[in-house]
Symmetry: C2
Subunit: 343 residues, 2 copies
């Protein structure tokens, strides 16, 4: 039985989405037990309205939550018993084997840095994100690629970029079950001399390393899905990821506008409903689940702030799958094989 | 009469698109005269098949062209009479007032750097690009925003970013006729402390400067069109712009796939044809025209490599409009007002 600690209080949909997601999962015949951490009264009230299995869902008390707009440092200092800190401590103490949070991203990163240890050879943690791609990945044909860092840090040294590559490959091999994930550096050209000095040096190191490194890719390759794992610094990754969200929103707006303006267009859209599943996937992928925060000695999955119950349920499953696949051990081995931290 | 020098030999569609575009424009009652520079025999042959007005189109001989895959430095060294160099020299000598090229981007930048002067206060030229936006810009409702630099340089100092802002605002005010273009820095958060050290310092300088600076924007804001002019370094701009192209390609592929697979979907798509004009615009904008290379003492418009005749015609019109609006004088004045080059 895998025990997952869930910060059930954060996120735009609050405890409702988190608790409903955990409740739904508890009814499936999985080997996952969720510790839902938060305001007991509030969580109990939500459970009153839904079916769940008490064998696979336990409520754990915390006091306070980091509000989505708060400064994470001050908020954690002021709330030592808040849900993200209590959930993290359950993992650090061994009562749970993975952490899931749909709350404040900065607070999740900071709580992890305070409560967990960084892995040997990893100077900086990285937040990864999945993004929709035209190409499929792995034996199940996952229509998503992994990109990291998307904002845990700002800049990255060559050593950081190599560590991101190692961690992303370990995660992709477990969660998408890609045997030897294709890893690429995001740059302004495919030639090995293209990019910032950090990219050029990371490229040199990855070429002689143990990963399946396919070289630099360009912006075009992100939606195409040329690589399974896209590596970049947190500044670039953040801008790119948010732009993909923006494109998705605009495409949705345009489709909604078209269907509301004319009956003919509405009929056309409904006739297309099968065909636009692909498009929906490309624009609506945020609802699917979570993405890992990598570099610590524990499994941390960050669900998107707008997550609904289904996304929370998926994020918990991904956390358990990561723990089952020994994500942390694989990153340790990968970092060692890549010679990280040797100097 | 504005005289525009056109490098008619480059581009994926070669002399054909360039000469046909110039020929089409010559039949309109505009005050533009095009000097089409390239292989006389090849260009004459194309003109044999189309209508044109010799009063507004003259062929000028050049020997050789920079191939799209060539190293631009070596190619220019080996071909001192190639089309891009001859066209640039026509502008530098005053025989033409603007340069248009659909050829090799690097060769256009390098030829400009060799033949033209950089404007006072401008340390680095910037290549701008238009990108489709949900919001409209200017009195004609242009569905495009301007972004720069998208790849003339790699990194940018705070002073470079301020210069890009000045140049982008001058261009937007002339070509989109936006009276006071909203200028923004692309960053990983809207707060003024967000971003790289160069962005934070440029933010500080733009806040006290003469431009209509709206602060930082995030990736989300690019497709939304929150700003008229988006400022970033060439590395970030290149990745972002190519990603937008990639998204457009994927959306087009999905639509094509949908319409080829089922009759019902094909009918649905055709019923939507009015409604998807918006989507077409968002995915197909590259065909529309050109984008400026800014920072030199002459007007330079780079048409996209895949340009067809209509895009070449539009790029020539944009070049003439830029010259008519005194783009160079406005950048000079803007750089001086922003205190560039004062130290």
């Amino acid at each position: 039985m895998r025990v997952v600690a869930l910060d059930a209080m954060g996120g735009d949909n609050g405890a409702d989405a988190a608790v409903r997601g955990a409740a739904a999962l508890s009814l499936e015949a999985t080997d996952v037990h969720v510790l839902a951490v938060g305001d007991i009264e509030q969580m109990s009230k939500i459970l009153d309205d839904v079916e769940y299995s008490p064998k696979r869902l336990t409520l754990v008390r915390a006091d306070g939550v980091v509000p989505m707009a708060a400064d994470p440092r001050a908020a954690l200092d002021q709330r030592p018993r808040c849900s993200i800190l209590v959930a993290s401590q359950l993992v650090a103490s061994g009562e749970a084997t993975a952490l899931v949070s749909a709350g404040h991203t900065g607070a999740t990163i900071l709580a992890s840095a305070r409560v967990f240890q960084r892995l040997p050879g990893v100077q900086r943690a990285a937040l990864a994100a999945v993004h929709p791609t035209e190409a499929r990945h792995g034996p199940h044909g996952d229509p998503f690629g992994l990109m990291l860092d998307v904002g845990a840090t700002l800049s990255a040294t060559p050593e950081d970029l190599v560590a991101f590559a190692v961690m992303g490959a370990a995660y992709s091999s477990i969660v998408s079950e890609v045997a030897s994930p294709r890893v690429a550096l995001l740059s302004n050209g495919t030639e090995r001399g293209k990019g910032t000095p950090a990219i050029i040096e990371a490229h040199r190191r990855l070429l002689v390393g143990p990963l399946n490194f396919i070289g630099n890719i360009e912006g075009l390759d992100i939606p195409r899905g040329t690589a399974d794992v896209v590596v970049c610094d947190g500044f670039l990754g953040n801008v790119v990821l948010k732009m993909l969200e923006g494109v998705g929103e605009v495409v949705r707006d345009v489709a909604r506008e078209a269907s509301s303006r004319k009956l003919k267009w509405r009929v056309g859209l409904s006739m297309l409903s099968g065909g636009i599943q692909e498009l929906k996937r490309l624009t609506d992928w945020k609802a699917y689940g979570g993405a890992p925060l990598l570099g610590f000695d524990q499994v941390v999955i960050k669900a998107h702030g707008r997550s609904e119950a289904r996304a929370i349920r998926n994020a918990i499953k991904v956390a358990a799958k990561s723990a089952n696949g020994d994500l942390i051990g694989r990153i340790r081995d990968g970092a060692s094989a890549a010679g990280l931290g040797d100097t």
